[in-house]
Symmetry: C2
Subunit: 172 residues, 2 copies
């Protein structure tokens, strides 16, 4: 299963793609940060990010999209932009008929590090280790996007395993 993880943001939107195989094996396919200049009008920034996300989905054809859920705890202005970018990811997934799921930051952190309150360094370290990378992905938004993709891959795998087990029981 190929998963596109999105860490939504107007100035820096992290995107990470991983392929997963049975037994929690995940491999890096692509990682990047989509940037939009802060001096561009908001509508142009959204159109630019929409274009880049759309291009990415066309090129890599993910089987699923996973997006970090937005919370309103931070700066109000930032949160609005983040919500709008996450909306673009949701929109594209729906339009391209790709299953999409959102995860809270603590779900993602707990999934890759076992600790829902892990800091950015811990997440980056775990992502680097899990994907068996020589160099840590930078900036933090890139590592976060990969963490979101890994979180969904593993969840997907467990869900599949549960479904397969249920199937076996039904077949017995």
């Amino acid at each position: 299963m190929r998963v596109l993880g999105i860490d939504p943001g107007l100035t820096r939107c992290g995107v990470g793609i991983v392929d997963s195989a049975p037994g929690r094996v995940v491999k890096l396919v692509h990682v990047d940060v989509i940037r939009s200049a802060t001096d561009l009008p908001l509508e142009k920034r959204l159109a630019l990010i929409h274009f880049e996300l759309s291009d990415l989905i066309s090129r890599f054809a993910p089987d699923a999209v996973a997006i970090e859920r937005v919370f309103a705890q931070a700066n109000v202005r930032t949160v609005m932009g983040t919500a709008q970018v996450s909306g673009l990811g949701l929109l594209l997934a729906a339009q391209m008929d790709i299953p999409v799921q959102t995860y809270t930051p603590s779900e993602v952190k707990a999934s890759v590090s076992g600790n829902g309150r892990a800091d950015k360094n811990q997440v980056t370290t775990m992502v680097t280790r899990i994907l068996n990378l020589d160099v840590a992905p930078k900036p933090a938004d890139a590592a976060d996007a990969l963490a979101i993709a890994i979180c969904h891959s593993w969840r997907g795998t467990s869900m599949q395993r549960i479904a397969q087990a249920a199937q076996r029981i039904n077949n017995d």
Copy 2:
């Protein structure tokens, strides 16, 4: 000048189109509320609203789009959806190369009623009067969308008048 006003919302998104002529004359072209069922997944709701907004812009070819700016004062969950829907309006305007402007609720209220703290009834009454309608537009989201379109039409007209005056001075 034809203006599409959008009062963004996930459950009810007001859309109002007005044509403006010199001397603050504005005429109703179209008014509607795009609805999306609360039991649909978020991505499907956004795709549905995106489709309806896109269809509206294609059919009525507005010269400008005006969108009510989102504030984080209300319910967090609602605000996120509202931000995402306003993002769709901004995206479509940018993609279709239509100038787009956002206005705060109080700018809109002050424009149509002279009072930035006018309540929903006052706004509806003024919109009905300004557009010379026999029946008040309902629900409030529809009246709000028209108020946003009127606000931008009048602002556009004053801006044009200033630009024309400047032109005349330059030509003298």
